[in-house]
């Protein structure tokens, strides 16, 4: 039994779709050069799925982009979480690294794109480095904060009971910081998509950003629509995947219940 919310949502989407069909077709309000009608979107989808567009078929572009996002995200969040752990662990290390970090942090990740192209060209390694610039920072900051905010008495208690160092790290410090770490990971993932799409738009051979760029150059609104829909769909799927991982990893944590119900 869908609730009131669900009914309104379905109604809204129906109205939007009807408006879309009407305004781009019989209504004639929106010219097909500006925004595609559903049939033009379908044509574009058929073309890119069979013949291909921008040098490859849709699955190739999707796999290229998703693989880069996942690789970039894993590398950035892995290194970022590790540095955040070390910085949260040792104030002296944090004091050494923080000024450099604060110096580089205000630079928007996308501003690195031209420099990275000069360094590494237009290939995969360039894309991963750009993603790294974007996704590394939230991972570091949230991990460090998570560790800083662990209640002192937890750690004192563990010490008093003679918990060895590594056990303390694995069984107490990391689990206690995990909810905050995951907040950082979600931000990192979002940042990975934003920067990858931008980097692919600026220059690339395959990928969804490349499709968007080619479609823009050849003024092909149907294909722009397909590219955007694919970006949204796979952005959503990867976010969903991360949420599933989070709810598995944090199954014991009270915040997960809120997350599931939200």
């Amino acid at each position: 039994m869908p609730g009131r919310r669900g009914i309104v949502a379905v109604l809204t989407l129906t109205v939007l779709i009807v408006l879309w069909v009407w305004a781009t077709g019989p209504g004639g309000i929106i010219s097909p050069v500006r925004f595609p009608s559903p049939s033009l979107v379908w044509e574009a989808l058929a073309q890119i799925s069979t013949v291909g567009f921008g040098g490859a078929t849709l699955p190739v572009h999707i796999v290229t982009s998703v693989a880069l996002v996942v690789e970039g995200f894993l590398i950035a969040s892995g290194t970022g979480t590790a540095l955040g752990l070390a910085m949260g662990w040792d104030r002296r290390l944090a004091a050494i690294i923080n000024p450099v970090f604060q110096l580089l942090r205000p630079i928007p990740p996308l501003a690195w794109i031209p420099l990275v192209i000069l360094w590494l060209g237009l290939g995969d390694s360039a894309k991963i480095l750009v993603i790294w610039f974007a996704a590394f920072v939230p991972a570091v900051i949230n991990t460090e904060t998570g560790i800083r905010d662990i209640p002192e008495h937890l750690i004192e208690a563990a010490y008093m009971l003679g918990t060895p160092r590594w056990r303390l790290l694995w069984r107490i410090v990391i689990p206690a910081a995990l909810p905050t770490i995951f907040t950082g990971l979600r931000l990192s993932l979002q940042a990975s998509w934003t920067t990858l799409v931008a980097a692919e738009l600026v220059g690339s051979f395959y990928g969804l950003g490349h499709v968007l760029n080619e479609a823009q150059q050849s003024i092909y609104p149907g294909m722009i629509f397909v590219g955007m829909a694919a970006v949204g769909l796979f952005g959503w799927l990867t976010t969903l995947l991360l949420a599933i991982v989070e709810s598995r990893v944090l199954a014991w944590h009270p915040s997960v219940r809120e997350l599931v119900s939200a």
């Binding site: 662990w89 630079i107 928007p108 794109i113 968007l212 760029n213 609104p221 970006v231």
Partner: protein, 267 residues
Amino acid sequence: MRNRSLRLSRWTRVALGLFGLTIFFGIWGAGSITGLASSTFLPDPLSVIGRLLKLVDSPYAGHTLLEHLTASLFRYGAGLALAIVVGLPLGLLMGWFRLIDDIVTPMFDGLRFIAPLAWVPFAALWFGSSLGGPVLVIFTGAFPPVLIGAYRGARLIDPQLVEAARMLGTPHRRMLTEILLPDAVPSIVSGLRVAAGLGWQSLIGAELIVVSSGIGYMMVQAQAAVSTRTVMAGIIAVGLVGTAVDLLLRLGEGAVRRRFGVAGPSK
């Protein structure tokens, strides 16, 4: 683990920080001056600073750095203003009227996962690539945090206050302007700060792709001309302006919070 709660004196912190910065600039400088990294790959820090100062009054890619920055800031201001004008009232209304919430939320959720820069092609197609297009891209970056901030703010309001006002027969319009808006201010302001950062980032992205002036355009031109120094000078300029904008907003946030009786700016 004892080091986690280590209290460092201010001087120790400053000394360690200087040590870190020295290592950073030391590696950079040593790498470029000794020729370990070629100057097209890694120009030394001083030549980048020199380049930055020179760009201030000698034109590159058609304009001086200040002219590029003015063009960028103008677009940025327009896009951010649009995001606030649309996002703020919509967020408050969503927080207040459940029907509007139920209608807008599915649309918002549907569009949320599209990276802001993916709007570039449509933005350019609809509004051209000089002002309207980039403004739309900045809007798509800055709009969600503004909306979410206003929405959260409106939902955080003390129900007893609302109840009391209702009982006294306060009309909707006055409820919005006199109860919701003031109470939601701290949340709105934090949303604005996030929006300002994301908007600045989207602007740079849009300028890298479609525009023919602005700081992002200058950087792309410098990249095409393999002038690493100019690209790095551009990165520094972008960082400085972003910091200045954030600083202004932080001051504004502090002032607003004091005015509405909430202590201190959020981190």
